[in-house]
Subunit: 223 residues, 6 copies
């Protein structure tokens, strides 16, 4: 059952980078409001906004052995995604693993468990979205798998899917949909820009979106 | 049942601003240790300290339609207070709604649910106290009410009550009590300043508050 | 039952300061992966890294009387550790108590409950690791104890034990073990530094730690 | 601030008993889907279904003194409703207090905190809906209030409101609305009975409620 | 995006029933310790042990419209599996829907949200595994999908997968693997029966599984 | 670090059995309101009331190897107490281990993690107090310790301490204190019996405990 898939398809770099620029909320909307990971995943420091191809890890609770295996599979522009096989908040990952991952071009870590050495990770500029910050050490005793489909924080992630992460959380985009989602995200941004100006000028959403009639029809009463 | 109250009484601006300056902990103490919202509401960025008159929203889970309705009711100096009708952490509010609310003088949002676009909101200086940061989009399909009494994060909030919010959380002051609470808050601050100097000089609370006798009488033993 | 132990043994200052420099994750590993407090304790602001001798407080829920008693027992370099006798998130501690504690050389507070005035505490540079930030006031009506063994956030803490706290959380080191743990922590740091360089140069943990054979022997398959 | 209101108005007994027979889900629907207490309140044993007039208690965390005060205010058919002033799970109530409350005709307890002696309470047939089962003892040191408006588990409860509780949880009905809500609840039950028969016979809600057209209009696709 | 898949493949009835008899813990082990739904899903009454083919529902928070759509898709022996699109504990399902589902041969409901009318459901013998028991009503305003792949309580569920549920929780078995998993489950049971007898007779697992040597080799010390 | 202590002192059987008869709430009060384990530990079925000597297990997350080691250390009348070294809800224990433990006279299990096969355990009459019911399997790969001091669910437990558990939860009594605590528990029960009769006859706690004067002195107002 324990296996490592070596060759994974990845989305085009330009598409990935475009999704990073769009950010989580826009990408999530652009693809039809799907793909968000649970809100328990929070960034260890504010301000990071990244996207990359998922190298996935299915790991036993309290055992980070497979992280070492996964790092060998990293290519420039990838993001590690770790899903424990049962709920766990141990610190699977710290500054040494981050050093190794960065040396291979890794852009960050998404983990439904804990992380440690966050002061060092912040200083290094290695962003992590995690369920907990916890120094609890892990062992290297039991196998897991690398680059298999996982459910991470309530969302299905396949190897090579695009992960987008920023201060709003983490979103996954199916690799095959990435280019189309980017196009929709950009259209959405253009559309929002126009609305932002009107709203800033004091126009109301009630009028811009023409909601008054429908609200009245549904029975809203003003007193 | 779905209704919007248009005209709400508000506390005097000077009183509201005075309460902001006093901050949550002092206001909470000054009014007899009541009115705190639950600690699950946290600011999306540190350092904001605001007060304003509550424009309340009772909204269905995952439906932000009433936010648009509420924004029309905002006056300069108001704060939006959103209570979902059942537990929810969806992102009801983002940078477009904040742009619209700011254009009407809104000072911030208190929401027992989620918020998104927090990077933009931080850059705009629009403070939010929320239960979650979550990009999950909402629909506009079901009515709620605006400016009705709500229970938000465990505290009753009436339209026009004064909301005070800072890094310690959120507190509500009944509109009718606002001036009296401000007076007590200022008295408390003056009193605290004197104590702070004595404590900083090394005097003990045990002596300043004359606690030793009572502790001994109740049976505290020193070994 | 309510008692205060006045004279507690403390670890050597140089050892304590050495443990602070090593930080929580390293100290935790150096002493065999024990002594961590639960991850629900988080710092009120990032960047603090301290160590000190524990002055412990066992306090009833919602009653901070014993904090005043404990402050008298503080010596330069100590850390207050408060464990409520049942789960509580009230704000036992704020800027006045911090002023008093700092005047006696206290380095910080670890509390499995709430804290308030966090803006002031941040400005004063008084670090706190707490379960909650909550302005809820407390009473002074019921006795507790000072400098007795407590269980704080799941870890046993004896009076005079060394507390280490940073962005990764909080760890306790038995006083009698402190010097030995510091030695191991330093050895660990030296060892890590060498590995960090190799990892930064692109070597893999799989090779540095010689894992490939064992992984294969246990049945890991590459595809 | 600490006060006891002696004379409270109560709903008619027949109305109260009618609401008990209708149960929580029906009453909640009949009054427009309002008034539910949070789902964290659970019955200590299955099968109880009660209604009664609320005698409310606002109590400090870990202090059950006011329960004794409240028991004197009980009349036959009342229900005790305890809201702690900050989150707490201590065991405020056990078999002795239940004996006393039953002697005064009390029908049960709703408490956003803990309860103990649940084996005895079960044997006595005294139902409790609580946030926790926890033997932690409480003190009698600080005042609270009896028969004041409280927020209990997220719902506002006024003295004399009708409390309905069963295996689905707890619902509050404003005293003034109780008779009207009962009428609607009975109409709802009659209506449901007819539907139940049709559904049991295999008819579909899609047809009974005539949903197919609207679903199609909104864009639902069958594959 | 909103769609209903009408024709789904199902596992053989005899295989499904065999998995029910094996129970969750055995099935989970037999298929390599995968497929468990999160422990937050609990049965509304003890003692039920079922298996069936999944008819899946992806529903918006607080909106149970799609349950009506799903019921039309039920065949004898099916189990409804509802995953809300964001976290929700509203009561999507009660006795009327259960009556309808039972009329179509449905064996139970697995829902990562709330359920109500649990007294009636218990009396009817319609088992439910849910995250919450909560009477909160839902609307019928927004579309979702039926018989699409969902992630429910952290596990991926495809239409037609076999769901096994008992007092230990809920497990999903891929439809294509169901027969093979059943075979392994039966082998496991046979093997366990033999061990049970030896253990009941006082033999130790240390001896039956021959663990002593390995424990000693790894360094376990007896004092 | 991994070790097993073979010979542990135990309290007298008659004392242990007396504590079981007194139950958790009474024992907790009798020993001065200390020693309760956190309320997250709940019995898997109602009605069990046991006491026994603690055989403790410190186990890694998701690894139940040490349970086998601990079972060999069991004597008639013991209770297993398992504390994971970091938070975990995996199912460490099921019917086979219970069969083995019962064969050695074990009275039950207290575990700050998960348990499975609860239907079988209930049928066997083997009581468990656990944090979760979860079928997740565990491995046997990493050592822990048996009969060392542990912190279990927030309470310190030493080998040979007396564990008392019933529907109210779990309490630990220091072995050396067990006889004295039993005496106090019995005195308390006798005293409670007298009060119970008076309360059942309608006397008020306000009068029995002579509270009226103190309440008035502290400022309680009747309206």
């Amino acid at each position: 059952m324990a296996r490592v898939v070596r060759n994974i398809a990845r989305a085009e770099r330009a598409v990935v980078d475009g999704l990073a620029a769009a950010g989580v909320a826009t990408v999530h909307e652009a693809q039809g409001r799907i793909g968000l990971l649970a809100s328990r995943l929070r960034p260890i420091y504010p301000g990071a906004r990244i996207a990359g191809s998922a190298v996935t890890i299915s790991a036993p609770p309290g055992d980070n052995w497979m992280v070492h295996v996964a790092i060998e599979q990293l290519q420039d522009g990838d993001i590690l995604v770790l899903a424990p096989t049962s709920p766990c908040e141990d610190g699977y990952f710290g500054d040494l693993l981050a050093t190794s991952a960065m040396a291979r071009g890794c852009r960050g870590l998404v983990i439904d468990a804990g992380v440690r050495d966050v002061r060092d990770l912040t200083a290094m500029g290695f962003p992590v979205w995690s369920k907990a910050i916890y120094a609890q050490g892990t062992v290297k005793a039991t196998l897991g798998s690398v680059n298999v489909p996982v459910v991470c924080a309530g969302a299905g992630v396949d190897l090579g899917d695009v992960i987008v992460a920023d201060d709003d959380g983490v979103c996954v985009v199916k690799r095959a949909d990435a280019a189309a989602v980017l196009e929709k995200a950009r259209a959405r941004e253009a559309n929002e820009e126009a609305k932002r100006k009107r709203l800033a000028a004091g126009e109301l959403g009630l009028d811009i979106y023409d909601m008054r009639g429908k609200l009245e029809a549904m029975g809203l009463k003003y007193e």
